[in-house]
Structure formats: C-alpha cells, structure tokens
C-alpha cells in the first residue's frame, strides 16, 4: 500500500524533494569521515602496508556496482510486470550511477593490483565479469538513447537489465567457483569478516556513504526524468492551445 502511494509520480516528487537534501547532507558527512578515516587513521596492514587503503574506495565502489545493477533489474521487472512508468524511470536513473561505480571499481582495483599483484590487469573470472558489468550498463543506457518511443525503449531496456542480472551472482561467486588472482570475500562470508575491526569500521562507513550517495543521486535523477515527462506533456498542451486559439 505504501509502495502504491509512493508510486504516484506527483507524490514521489513532493516526498523526494524533502528527502533528497537530507540524504545529500548525510552523504557528505559520512563520505568525509569515511575517506579521512581510511586515508589517515586506519592502521597499516601487516602484509600490504599502506597500499591496502585503496580498499576503502575499491570495495564500496565494487559493492555498489553490483547493488545498483540489482536495483536496476528489480525496477525493470516491476516495470515489465506492472507497467508503471516510475519503475522504468527508477531503473533508467540508476544506470549511469552504476556505470560510474563500476568504472571506479575497475580503476581503483587496477591501481591496487599493480603494486600488490604485479599487474594492472589479468583476465581472471572476477575482473572479466566486472568488465562485462560495465558493458551491460553501457548497453542498457544505449537502448534508452537509441529508441525514440519511450515505452518501447523501457521494454527493451528492461529485458537487457534482466538478462544481464545473471552476471551479478557470477561476479560475487567468481572467486569461489574458479581459481582467480583476485582474493576471496573478506566481509560477507561464512565464519564472519576476516578483517580487523580497526579497518572494518572505516570500511563500513565508506559503504554507508556510497549507499547514501546512490540514494541522493537516484532521487535527483528520477525527479529529472519525471519533470522531463511532464515538460513534454505541457509542451503538447501549449502547442494545442495555440493552434486552437
């Protein structure tokens, strides 16, 4: 019932205009704390020294790259089944954010790989599937660009999003299913996190900050898409009005 009420575009605009500024403030606070803690306060790692500090941006970016795709696929499924424009717009709004997170995950991972592994890039299952994710985001965004009819674009894009969602569990479990150069999971795994609390806390704050960032930008982008739709409607009505007059 709550979902239903929130799903009304006009109501969504009203509520999100109240929520978004608060999300923005919280994003800034947690991001500054998290990044500063990660850069300057967290202790050096016993194996990697200070190089491991890249974890505080790499893991949140990678996690969000997958979370964002999951969100996009879920919204697309809702869009296909219930044919609600707000669901399609949510998925469309999430795509560039996810693409940015994916690019950052690949870039920071590459700069972490060079000093530690000895290479910027290797075609192992984890790295390759993350690169596929970036191309899925690009493909999804390209559909919206290429197809003029918005409702048709929404349907094709949603199918791309749903087909691609298979890749998300592949990324997550790639390090367990195949042998890779990339190490296995440190936080979400059976037997608890294998990372010391002094390093885990700043990491969790960074993950929270990236989540809040996602919500903030998502709300802004959905607002934009709703407004653009209403602008199209208004233009049509004005054109009709002038013609009739």
């Amino acid at each position: 019932m709550l979902m239903h009420k929130f799903a009304n575009p006009a109501r969504f605009l009203r509520i999100s205009k109240i929520i978004a500024p608060w999300c923005f403030i919280l994003t800034m606070i947690s991001l500054v704390i998290g990044l500063y803690w990660g850069l300057f306060i967290a202790p050096d790692d016993y194996q990697m020294g200070s190089a491991y500090r890249i974890i505080f941006v790499h893991v949140p970016a990678s996690y969000m790259s997958m979370f964002c795709y999951g969100f996009m696929a879920f919204a697309s499924a809702v869009g296909i089944i219930w044919k609600h424009p707000l669901a399609d717009q949510s998925a469309r709004a999430a795509a560039p954010i996810g693409a940015a997170f994916t690019a950052l995950a690949l870039f920071t991972g590459s700069l972490w790989g060079k000093p530690m592994w000895g290479t910027y890039w290797i075609w192992d299952a984890r790295l390759t599937s993350e690169l596929v994710l970036l191309f899925l985001y690009f493909g999804y965004m390209a559909v919206w660009q290429a197809v003029d009819d918005q409702s048709k674009a929404a349907r094709i894009a949603a199918i791309v999003a749903l087909v691609g969602v298979i890749n998300v569990p592949i990324i997550k479990f790639s390090v367990d299913w195949w042998n890779t150069l990339h190490q296995p999971a440190s936080i979400i795994k059976s037997g608890g996190a294998s990372i010391h609390p002094d390093m885990l806390w700043p990491l969790l704050i960074c993950i929270l900050a990236f989540n809040l960032y996602f919500i903030t930008i998502l709300l802004w982008r959905i607002q934009s898409l709703i407004l653009q739709r209403q602008i199209r409607g208004l233009r049509l009505r004005i054109a009709e009005g002038t013609n009739n007059g």
């Binding site: 239903h4 195949w178 990372i195 010391h196």
Partner: protein, 160 residues
Amino acid sequence: MASAPLNTRAGKRKKKRFYLVLTSLTVLALAVGLVLSALEDSISLYLDPTDLIERNIPQGQHVRLGGLVAEDSFTKADDGLTYHFDITDGANTVTVVYKGALPDLFREGQGVVVEGAQGDAGIFIASEVLAKHDENYMPKEVIDSLKKRGLYKQAEEESL
C-alpha cells in the same frame, strides 16, 4: 497497481507477465550455468601443481601455475636477478625458476601465480610472477604483539 485484485483481466495479465519473467530468468540462469560449468577449465586462471603433474602438460606449453610459495624454498642466484622457489598445493610441489622483478607481496607462505612453461628436469621456467593476497586484513601492531607472545601461528590457524 501492486494491490490490484488478481481476478480481474488486468490482474491476470500481470500474473502472466510475472510468471513469464520468472521462468525466462530461471531458464536463462540454467543455460548460463551449464555453459560456465562446461567452460570451467578455461575460466580458471591457473593450474595447481597436482593438475600440472596429473595432466602431463608437455614441455614448452605455456600455462599458469598457482599455489603457495613453500617455506624455506626461496633462493636468490649469484647474479642477484634469478630466483628459485617451490610452489606447493599441499600434495605436490613444483620448483620454479624466474628471472625478473618480484611483486611487493611475494614471500614464502603466500599465494602466487606464475606464467611460463615446464622446462627440463621438471623445473618450471616462469616468465611472469604475480602475487596473490589472501582475504585477511590485520594491523601490523596486532601481528607484532601476537608474534611477541608466540601466538601468531595459532591465531592464523584459528582464522582459517
């Protein structure tokens, strides 16, 4: 929308679309799963020493070999550039020779992936050495104090 009764015509269509999405995804997941499991060998990045021996990889064939650098096996030749070390998976061990720069994380007891080919006398000639790091993150001070109290090995085993 979500709360619309499912016995109306629109409701039935929604239900149909829901099951269509669900079955398509399931079929797709199964297909991808089959393909991936068929390709398992080529997706895996490296062979471990047991694979290398059991599969009789011919001399000179380019492969990647991965495992732990065996304790007390690392030696530096007189030229200061050539290294010898053993890679082990617990069951089997392969001796590796490598000439070049080693990554910062390379050390005995740590994971490593080397690229190269089998040479004479069962020695693996590596052209590239990559270090693998494990999923454990610990402050230096914590390890130092554990070592001081002689608890380090024990702590490491507990974390496994």
